[in-house]
Subunit: 146 residues, 2 copies
DNA sequence: CGGGCTATTTTTAGCTT
DNA sequence: TAAGCTAAAAATAGCCC
């Protein structure tokens, strides 16, 4: 029973936290399915438990929605601007992991020598490039799955 | 009031569908925030309304979760296999859009000449490549956001 | 552990403005 | 068109097994 109004804060007990994660994740997926069905929308939910397990659901598929998201965040294909309404973070206690990929793909760029306009241009170019590469690779992957 | 039990099916009336989409999307985001807070998990929700508007929420950020998802679906970095528990699709009425990107990045591959082993190898190579490119580009993008 | 129960809180469909 | 209201439906915390 939810006798007492539950406070939305981190659950310290590991077992209890996992139980709640499982239950609420199922609830979240159910809600997502209902949204998709009732509103004829596309949606994806991706969750990582503290243990590192991945759970994802998406309609038409997680990859489809993710690719559409990536495409949209770099959408300047034909000058169309698709505004992304991104929800603000609730609190500032997040620990954002640092990117530590030391491998190089030969894409070094002299950022220091650039002005703001050039940086913005680079940002758009990179996002566009990312979209193209992701699209292309996904195309190759799906054609090899026949 | 929800006097009558609502059937989870497509809402035909456009205005009503949009209202429901808005309300349920807000509910979904709230649930996601609660899951993140209570279970110390990472999660992202991406939705596209029928009108084409994008709404996304993620902790630590949508991009962070999406990148982690992409990395995981191609994770063979050090031989670790991270299982993705992907929910099955509920129904077979989905219309999956065909990829029609005719632009080339010079990545043409002679698929027909390949055997199954080579196709699987290509699949892993492509996913790995996708991860590296996405990581690299995101690295460049975030360093230009300083 | 994972599944079932249920009291209570939370969500939300339909309404009103 | 969007923003409240409210009663009924749905989700779920704590417990049992």
């Amino acid at each position: 029973m939810v006798r007492t109004k539950v406070e939305i804060k981190r659950i310290e007990d590991k077992a209890k936290r996992h139980t709640t994660f499982t239950k609420r994740r199922q609830g979240l997926f159910k809600k997502t399915k209902e949204l998709v069905k009732r509103c004829d929308a596309e949606a994806a939910v991706i969750t990582f438990s503290l243990a590192g397990n991945i759970f994802a659901f998406g309609h038409p598929s997680v990859d489809n929605v993710v690719n559409r998201y990536i495409a949209s965040t770099s959408a300047l294909e034909h000058g169309e601007v698709v505004p992304v309404h991104e929800e603000a973070e609730m609190e500032r206690d997040a620990v954002i992991g640092t990117m530590e990929n030391e491998e190089t793909l030969g894409l070094e760029v002299p950022l220091d020598d650039m002005g703001m306009d050039e940086l913005e241009e680079l940002d758009r170019t990179m996002k566009e490039m990312k979209k193209k590469v992701v699209d292309k690779i996904d195309g190759i992957i799906s054609s090899s799955k026949t």
